[in-house]
C-alpha cells in the first residue's frame, strides 16, 4: 500500500461518493423506487470498497491472517451471487457446477471480499454473461470468474484503481499452505472476455 495507491483509492472513493450524492439529490426532488434501489446498491458497493481498502491497509501494516475453515464451495458461490448488490441486474451471473469439490478449505470472509471485488469488476465489463467456477487441482482450490466483455486492454474500458486486484492478491497471499501461498491473475479468456483466477 503505497501512499500513491492510497491517494488514488481515496480519490476513487470520493468520486463514487459524489455520484451517490447526486443520485440522492435527484431523489429528494423526485423520489422513485427504482432510483432509490440503484442508489442503495451504489452505497453498499461503496461501503464494501471501503472495507476492502481497510483490509488492504491492514494487510500491508500488520499482515492478514486467514481463518481457514471447511466450506462447501457450492454454497459459498451461490450465496456470493445472491448477495452481490449488482449495478447491472440484466446480466446473467451463474455458477459452473462441473468439477466443484464437495468441500474446500479457505477463509470464507476474506475470499468473499476478494471474489466480490473481482465480480464487481467483471460486471462492469461483461456484455451478457458471467460464469464463476471452482476446481481442485494440485492441492489448490481454484476460483475463476469469466466475463464475456471485450477483454483486457480494450480502448473503452474504464480505468480501475487497482484496489480490487491488490485486495485479491493480499487475500490470496494470506492463504499459505504446504509452504506455498495463494495467487491471483487477470488475463484474457480464450472466449474473448477476461478471466480472473484465484488460487488458494
Amino acid at each position: 500500500m503505497t501512499p500513491q495507491l492510497a491517494a488514488i483509492i481515496v480519490h476513487d472513493l470520493k468520486n463514487a461518493l459524489g455520484v451517490l450524492e447526486s443520485e440522492l439529490a435527484a431523489l429528494t426532488e423526485q423520489p422513485d423506487r427504482t432510483s432509490a434501489i440503484h442508489a442503495h446498491a451504489n452505497c453498499v458497493a461503496l461501503r464494501e470498497k471501503l472495507i476492502g481498502f481497510l483490509t488492504l491497509y491492514k494487510a500491508s501494516e500488520q499482515g492478514l491472517t486467514a481463518r481457514i475453515e471447511d466450506v462447501s464451495p457450492a454454497d459459498f458461490l451461490r450465496e456470493l451471487i445472491r448477495h452481490h448488490e449488482t449495478t447491472r441486474p440484466e446480466l446473467n451471473v451463474r455458477v459452473n457446477t462441473t468439477g466443484v469439490p464437495d468441500v474446500a478449505f479457505f477463509d470464507e470472509y476474506l475470499v468473499g471480499l476478494a471474489l466480490d471485488a473481482a465480480l464487481q469488476n467483471a460486471i462492469r465489463f461483461a456484455e451478457r454473461e458471467i460464469v464463476i467456477g471452482c476446481q481442485q487441482q494440485d492441492g489448490q482450490t481454484i476460483f475463476t470468474i469469466v466475463d464475456d466483455g471485450r477483454g483486457l486492454g480494450s480502448k473503452d474500458a474504464q480505468p480501475s484503481t487497482g484496489l480490487g486486484m491488490a485486495l485479491c492478491a493480499a487475500i490470496a497471499e494470506a492463504h499459505r499452505h504446504n509452504g506455498r501461498s495463494g495467487s491471483v491473475s487477470l488475463e484474457n479468456a480464450a472466449s474473448g472476455g477476461a478471466l480472473f483466477t484465484m488460487r488458494l
Binding site: D70, D102, V103, F105, Y109
Partner: protein
C-alpha cells in the same frame, strides 16, 4: 429488502446481544425481515444468563465487544462450559472487520459462525439456513449419540458421509470422537487420517492422533505429536489440555501444571484459573494454587459466573499454608455471598446449600484445630459428619478424613478414609491424596494399616473371584463380584475385573445376553469414571473380539 417467507426460520427463537441499543434494534429488524419474530434482547452477560435460564434459544447473535470486562468469547465459553445452550442452538459471533482475525484462533469454544459487520439480513439468513441444513443432515448421528449408542452413531457417520459429503469434516469429527470413546483406536485413527488426507494441517485431527496414542498407552509418542502441533500452533488450547492429561497419566503433576499454566497465559479465564489451581494443589504448589483461586474469585466477584467452590478451594489452600485465620475470613465472606451466588448461578441444582455447608464445615474444623480452638474444631467436624450423607471415593470425603485427623479423631479419620478407598481402591489419585493427608498429619504409620490394608482387602476380592473362575466355579466367581459391586458400585478395579471375567466366561461358554448387557453397563460406567483409559479401551476390544468369536461359532 424483500421479506423472505420461510417457515423454517419463522419458528426460530432468537436472542440479540449487544451493549448498544441501536445495534440490537438494527439486528432485530433484520431478523424480522427474515420472518423471525420471536426476538429477545440483552445488553450484558448477566442479562443473557438470566434469559437463557428461562428460555431455550435457537439463534443467538452476539457482539464480540460486549463491554470492558467481558467479551462475547468469554460469554460463549461460560455458556458452553456450563452446558447452558441447547445442542441445536446456533451461536453467531459478530465482529468488526478490524478485529476479525484476532478474535478467533485461540478460542477453545467456537461459535457456529463468525460474521463481520455490517450484518445484512440476507447473510444471516444464508448462514442460518446452512446451519439448519447441517443440523438436519447430522441429526441421525446426534440422535444415536444422545442415547449413548456410539456404535450406531459411527454407522450413521459412514452412511451420511456418502449422502451428504459437504459435511464430511463435521462427520469425521463426530466419528473419531465416538470411536475414541469406544476405545476403538483403529477406527479413530482412520477417521483422523481421512480428515488429514483432505487437508494435512487440520490441528484437531493431528491432536486426535495424539489422543489415540495416549489411549493406546504410548504416552511419549502422544506427547511428541502434541509438542509438534504446539510448535506450529502455540495458541491451540486443546493441545495444552491433552499435554496436561498425558502428564497426569504419567503421574507428572508438575508437568501437568506447567501445561495448564501455559494455557492460562493464552486464555486467562476464571475457568482456566480453576484448572490451574486444582493442578497446582495436586502438585503441592500451594503458592500457585493460592494465586489461581484468588484470581478466579476476584474476576468473578459480583458476576453470574461466580462459583462458591473458588472461595472453598482458596480457604483450603490457606489452611494447608498455615494461614488458618485467613481461611476462616475467606469462609465467612463466602458464607455471606453464597446464598446469592447459589440463587443466581444454579437455582435448580439440588443440595447446593448442603454441599457448601459441608465443605465449609470440613475446612473450618481444620482451621480451628490449627488455631488451637479445639471446641470449635470439634463442633465444626460434628456438623460436617452430619451433613455428609455418603462416604464416596472423592475429594470431599478425603477432606473429611483430613479434618478428622486434624481434630484428633484418628479412628474416625481412618474409618472414613478406608471407606473411600474401598469404594475405588485402584484410583491412583485418591490413594495418593490419602497418603499425603496421612504424611502431612504426621501419621505415616497409618498408611500401612489403613490405606494398604484396605487396598489389599479389595484386591483380595478380585483375586478370589479370579481363582474361582480359573477353578471352574463360574457362577460363584461372577456372584462374588456382583456382590462387591453392590456395596461399591463405582469401584473401577472391580468393574474392570467384572467385565473381564464375564467376557472370559462368554469366550468359553458362548454368548449370554444378560452378560453382554452387564459388560456394556460396566464399560459405560468405566468410560465415565476413567476417560481415555488404555485399560478400558482394551476391554472394549475384548468385548468386540468375544462377540465376533461367538458369531463365528454360531
Amino acid at each position: 429488502m424483500a421479506t423472505i417467507l420461510n417457515s423454517r426460520l419463522a419458528k426460530l427463537r432468537a436472542l440479540v446481544v449487544d451493549d448498544m441499543q441501536t445495534m440490537r434494534q438494527n439486528i432485530r429488524t433484520q431478523l424480522g425481515q427474515l420472518g423471525i419474530e420471536k426476538v429477545d434482547q440483552a445488553a450484558t452477560p448477566d442479562d443473557v444468563i438470566k434469559l437463557i435460564r428461562s428460555t431455550s434459544y435457537d439463534v443467538i447473535v452476539c457482539d464480540y465487544n460486549l463491554n470492558r470486562e467481558t467479551n462475547g468469547q468469554q460469554l460463549l465459553e461460560f455458556l458452553r462450559s456450563q452446558n447452558m445452550l441447547s445442542p441445536t442452538c446456533m451461536f453467531f459471533m459478530v465482529t468488526a472487520e478490524s478485529s476479525y482475525d484476532s478474535v478467533a484462533s485461540a478460542a477453545e469454544f467456537q461459535p457456529d459462525a463468525y460474521m463481520v459487520k455490517p450484518l445484512t439480513g440476507g447473510r444471516i439468513a444464508d448462514r442460518i439456513e446452512r446451519l439448519l441444513d447441517k443440523q438436519h443432515a447430522l441429526k441421525p448421528i446426534n440422535d444415536r449419540l444422545h442415547v449413548k449408542d456410539l456404535s450406531g452413531a459411527m454407522l450413521e457417520c459412514d452412511r451420511i458421509q456418502k449422502t451428504d459429503p459437504r459435511w464430511i469434516i463435521d462427520i469425521l469429527k463426530l466419528k473419531s470422537k465416538a470411536a475414541l470413546e469406544l476405545g476403538n483406536l483403529i477406527e479413530a485413527r482412520n477417521a483422523y487420517q481421512q480428515a488429514l488426507d483432505l487437508r494435512n494441517d487440520l490441528i484437531w485431527a493431528r491432536l486426535g492422533l495424539a489422543r489415540c496414542e495416549q489411549a493406546a498407552g504410548h504416552a511419549d509418542d502422544a506427547k511428541a505429536i502434541v509438542l509438534d502441533v504446539l510448535q506450529k500452533n502455540p495458541q491451540y488450547i486443546d493441545a495444552y489440555d491433552v499435554l496436561a492429561q498425558i502428564a497426569e497419566s504419567q503421574g507428572k503433576d508438575d508437568e501437568a501444571l506447567a501445561a495448564l499454566n501455559n494455557s492460562y497465559e493464552i486464555i486467562p479465564s476464571a475457568r482456566r484459573s480453576r484448572l490451574v489451581g486444582d493442578a497446582a494443589y495436586r502438585a503441592g504448589n500451594l503458592e500457585q494454587a493460592r494465586n489461581a483461586f484468588s484470581k478466579a474469585l476476584t474476576h468473578t466477584r459480583g458476576s453470574l459466573t461466580a462459583q462458591v467452590s473458588d472461595a472453598l478451594s482458596l480457604a483450603q489452600v490457606h489452611v494447608d499454608s498455615g494461614e488458618a485465620s485467613l481461611a476462616l475470613t475467606v469462609l465467612s465472606e463466602a458464607a455471606s455471598a453464597s446464598p446469592q451466588i447459589q440463587q443466581r448461578t444454579q437455582p435448580d441444582a439440588p443440595d447446593q446449600d448442603n454441599d457448601f455447608a459441608l465443605q465449609q464445615a470440613i475446612i473450618a474444623s481444620q482451621a480451628f484445630a490449627a488455631l488451637g480452638d479445639t471446641r470449635s474444631a470439634q463442633a465444626a467436624f460434628a456438623s460436617a459428619k452430619e451433613l455428609a450423607r455418603e462416604l464416596r471415593a472423592d475429594a470431599t470425603t478425603m477432606a473429611l478424613a483430613k479434618a478428622a485427623f486434624a481434630v484428633g479423631l484418628d479412628d474416625e479419620g481412618s474409618h472414613i478414609m478406608a471407606k473411600a478407598i474401598r469404594a475405588d481402591h485402584e484410583n491412583a489419585r485418591l490413594v495418593a491424596s490419602a497418603r499425603k493427608i496421612l504424611q502431612d498429619a504426621g501419621k505415616p504409620a497409618l498408611i500401612e494399616s489403613v490405606i494398604d490394608a484396605t487396598i489389599s482387602e479389595a484386591t483380595l476380592i478380585v483375586e478370589q473371584a479370579t481363582r474361582l473362575m480359573r477353578d471352574g466355579h463360574f457362577d460363584e466367581s461372577l456372584a462374588k463380584l456382583e456382590q462387591a459391586l453392590d456395596s461399591t458400585p463405582e469401584n473401577t478395579g472391580i468393574l474392570l475385573a467384572a467385565a473381564q471375567l464375564h467376557l472370559l466366561w462368554m469366550s468359553q461358554k458362548g454368548l449370554d445376553r444378560r452378560y453382554v448387557e452387564r459388560v456394556n453397563t460396566y464399560l459405560a460406567q468405566l468410560s465415565k469414571l476413567m476417560p481415555n483409559s488404555e485399560r478400558v479401551a482394551k476391554m472394549y476390544r475384548f468385548l468386540r473380539e468375544t462377540l465376533v468369536q461367538a458369531g463365528k461359532k454360531a
